[in-house]
Symmetry: C2
Subunit: 196 residues, 2 copies
């Protein structure tokens, strides 16, 4: 059963008994998002957070020149939503779509808050998940402020060794923050990097 992937993730941080697991399951909805379909679209409200069972989602913003900037890839075992919209219930500025057919469990903010009251351990779980997300987001910011494009690319290759193979390069470029053309030049060694 696909719910097992989610239970596994929970058990890394907290212990839920059978009954609690079932109560949680009652608050979840399983959904398939087909390749290129949206989980969340600009100006919508993020009613739910998604747990990826299989496949891969990505979140990205579009700037005033029409360029996409990818904030997060969410392969199996990851949670994804626009936290801003999710907690404020204001319209989002992000898009989240599927890079391939993807299976997710959806948890609405309402249900999440109810679960926090019924099963305080879940509040702990999400506190920990959010702490870890914050660490990741901060590190990404540091990298963008400190590293050159070529260093960020090298970084990406070591951080996502699996993704790197079956991901179009234009998506990698949109993640590390360069144009596809420039990434191509980086890879061909035309642009010289001072260190590593």
């Amino acid at each position: 059963m696909s719910i097992q992937k989610l239970i596994d993730s929970l058990q890394k941080h907290i212990n839920l008994n059978r009954q609690e697991q079932e109560m949680l399951t009652d608050f979840l909805v399983l959904k398939i998002i087909k390749k290129k379909q949206f989980f969340l679209h600009e100006a919508q409200i993020a009613k739910e957070v998604a747990f990826v069972v299989s496949g891969c989602l990505r979140s990205y913003s579009i700037d005033q020149n029409g360029f996409e900037h990818i904030l997060q890839f969410a392969p199996t075992g990851w949670w994804i939503t626009d936290m801003y919209s999710f907690i404020s219930q204001q319209p989002t500025h992000l898009n989240i779509d599927a890079l391939m057919d993807t299976e997710v469990y959806l948890l609405s903010r309402q249900n999440q808050l109810q679960l926090f009251d019924k099963i305080p351990k879940l509040e702990r779980y999400f506190r920990i998940i959010t702490e870890n997300s914050l660490v990741g987001s901060r590190q990404r910011l540091i990298d963008n402020l400190s590293l050159t494009a070529s260093q960020r690319y090298a970084n990406f290759c070591t951080t996502y060794p699996t993704l790197i193979h079956d991901l179009p390069q234009k998506l990698v470029a949109a993640y590390i923050g360069v144009t596809p053309e420039f990434l191509s030049k980086l890879r061909s060694g035309v642009a010289k990097s001072k260190k590593s």
Copy 2:
């Protein structure tokens, strides 16, 4: 009493009775950090998170060229630490120091985790604080990926209208991610921005 600033922050999200407030207070340590002194230094372990009662701290990383990149300013009412080091108890790569004489309450990770068990509402409080930090960090990342230096500066001025006055420009530069020289040119209007 200075503890009131902290209680006020808590009461925005949760309700603590007298007894709970006192229990919390028992886990806190009040400390003065003088201007230019460090709250956290590279290679140390972030044993505590700090709540700023008065004054202002900042966190920053130093890249391989010796440049400082400021991640966060923490004026009155803000929490600050290196979340990575704080939750993993691994050595930090960041520095946190005081821009002026600053009064803080310190809460150790140990004490925090104990409090989460004794007063689950505090776990809720920090869950919310962390969610908000994540939103801020993500937005900062989007800005760095999407905006030009001049737009980021304009952004900073509207976001921190108070800080902007009594903050040396080199710190503003280290926050928005440009050299002090270039920020100076931005301000003098030498560099032209396409929009806004």
